[in-house]
């Protein structure tokens, strides 16, 4: 009986957070047209990179560079840009909640503040990702026709769960600094730039010099864009399995760190009512 009631309670909890995600998805569907219009910039950036890599492959006189063909390189960029541009603006939301005191209402709700924001984040991320993938893929299809990526899309979607989770954890750790400092924009900005450089957004890590590749392998940033984009163009079950394991390790470590920061922050919090 005891085990049965424990199972029910667990099932109810999962259903509760899953509902948060579903409500976020439904809310964001109301802004689908706006997402499509705002994502035109993705097409401009991809168009420019298509030209740059076309010249690069021509200049090298080689069909393959660092293990990527021209087609694979473009699809890599489509997947990497899609992941990064799909990430919701969590720091702005958290900063506003703390500044306005709305965080007080959130903390009194019968659900974990961190898990609530996680499921909300994932809901919004996947709505945006579907828009970005459709737009990016339209460019890819127009250039190369149907892609020969095998199960690449499946690999990309599988790894993207870990990518968004790691990105959520790192962004949330920085956002919770608003319990101590008023503005976290500077910290988040620096994080995003590090993600661009050694996260594999602009160039696959295989093109980096050896020493930079080694540094990137020991940091969590590669798990956000590079892992997912690489899984999309170089689908291999064993490699994907290894990468999912690395993501899981970072998720455990970052969750532990986030929990500590959250508990310290909440104890420090003063909410003034009116």
């Amino acid at each position: 009986m005891n085990t049965l009631s424990k199972n029910w309670r667990f099932r109810d909890k999962v259903q509760k957070y899953f509902s948060v995600g579903c409500i976020t998805v439904r809310n964001n569907f109301a802004y689908l047209r706006s997402f499509f219009i705002r994502s035109w910039f993705l097409l401009v950036i991809l168009f420019i990179f298509v030209q740059l890599w076309r010249i690069t492959y021509q200049g090298e006189g080689s069909q393959v560079i660092a293990g990527y063909t021209y087609e694979q390189m473009i699809w890599y960029l489509i997947f990497a840009e899609s992941i990064i541009l799909s990430s919701p603006r969590l720091p702005i939301k958290i900063e506003e909640e703390v500044k306005k005191g709305d965080v007080g209402y959130q903390l009194t709700r019968p659900m974990s503040y961190l898990l609530y924001h996680y499921f909300s984040y994932m809901g919004e991320a996947y709505v945006r990702l579907s828009v970005n993938i459709v737009l990016g893929s339209s460019l890819g299809l127009a250039l190369f026709g149907w892609p020969h990526l095998g199960f690449g899309l499946l690999g990309f979607l599988l790894v993207s769960i870990g990518s968004f989770t790691v990105n959520y954890l790192m962004t949330m750790i920085l956002s919770l600094c608003s319990f101590w400092v008023e503005e976290t924009r500077g910290l988040v900005f620096v994080y995003n730039k590090i993600l661009f450089i050694i996260g594999g957004l602009m160039l696959p890590l295989e093109i980096f010099p050896r020493y930079l590749q080694t540094i990137s392998h020991w940091l969590p940033f590669q798990t956000v864009a590079y892992f997912a984009a690489n899984a999309g163009v170089h689908f291999e079950w064993i490699t994907i399995g290894k990468r999912l394991l690395i993501q899981l390790t970072w998720i455990f470590f970052l969750s532990f760190l986030l929990r500590i920061i959250y508990q310290k922050g909440v104890r420090k919090l003063h909410v003034n009512g009116g």
Partner: protein, 262 residues
């Protein structure tokens, strides 16, 4: 005092007040400018990695791309530091804020352009000078050519915006129409990676090509044809933009909004 000297004094006074206003919140000022420098530095890092692996891009070397970044970010920085309202003219027109400027005894276009300063653009300008300091040609001729390149790109940014935003006099809201952001996006990549209709587009409708080709066409070696064309296009944009603005101003109907210039 001559008219030019009077307008120069007026512009200097405006810029001084804009800078004083921006520096009122010191930490915010330095953070904003600093973040822009860091943002641009990421791209320098990208190109260093790229050229570490691939030594040439259709005749462009790493020093040319660094100068490309210096000219584009410097021109953009100058445009938005000293003429920060260029991309905002359309909004000023449709919301009736132009009335405030019409009531003042100063040239309307000049007054509108100089009455706003973008703090992040100062970061772009500082970044441009740092890049030139590290990668540029440090001779008198090199400095003169770089200064000319900056001035030309600044004028292209400002008066392209004036042309586009002045369409608000005729069609109303021009928010979302092509602006400086699109020029900057294309101007930050070597021109020779583009071909066909794209290249034609970048030297006609969207004059980003005149900015991005400056490292090869002016800084490395003065190519008379390119330099002449760049001067011609800049002159056309300056006079054309000014004419379009003042022609549109004759159609402008004042609103009931009360505003203030402080």
């Amino acid at each position: 005092m001559s008219t030019v000297a009077k307008y120069t004094r007026f512009a200097l006074a405006c810029w001084k007040l804009n800078l004083a206003g921006a520096m009122e919140f010191r930490l915010s000022f330095f953070m904003t400018a600093g973040m822009m420098i860091l943002n641009n530095a990421v791209w320098i890092f990208f190109w260093q990695i790229y050229f570490h692996r691939f030594h040439l891009v259709n005749g462009w070397q790493v020093s040319d791309v660094m100068m490309l970044w210096a000219v584009t970010s410097g021109g953009f920085g100058l445009a938005n530091s000293f003429f920060g309202n260029a991309d905002n003219i359309g909004n000023i027109i449709v919301t009736g804020q132009l009335d405030t400027y019409l009531a003042q005894p100063k040239p309307v276009l000049l007054h509108v352009l100089i009455s706003r300063m973008s703090v992040s653009a100062l970061g772009d300008l500082i970044f441009a000078l740092l890049v030139f300091g590290y990668f540029g040609e440090h001779t008198w001729l090199g400095v003169i050519k770089f200064t000319v390149a900056l001035l030309l790109s600044m004028l292209i940014f400002v008066f392209f915006s004036v042309c586009v935003q002045s369409l608000a006099f005729y069609v109303g809201n021009v928010e979302g129409l092509i602006g400086q952001e699109l020029i900057v996006t294309f101007a930050l990549y070597p021109t020779d990676i583009f071909r066909g209709m794209t290249k034609v587009f970048l030297f006609t409708v969207l004059p980003a090509g005149f900015i991005s080709y400056m490292p090869l066409g002016l800084l490395r070696q003065i190519q008379p044809l390119f330099f002449g064309a760049a001067l011609g296009v800049t002159t056309l944009l300056v006079f054309g933009g000014t004419a379009l603005f003042y022609h549109g101003l004759k159609r402008y109907g004042s609103g009931n909004m009360t505003g203030m210039r402080m």
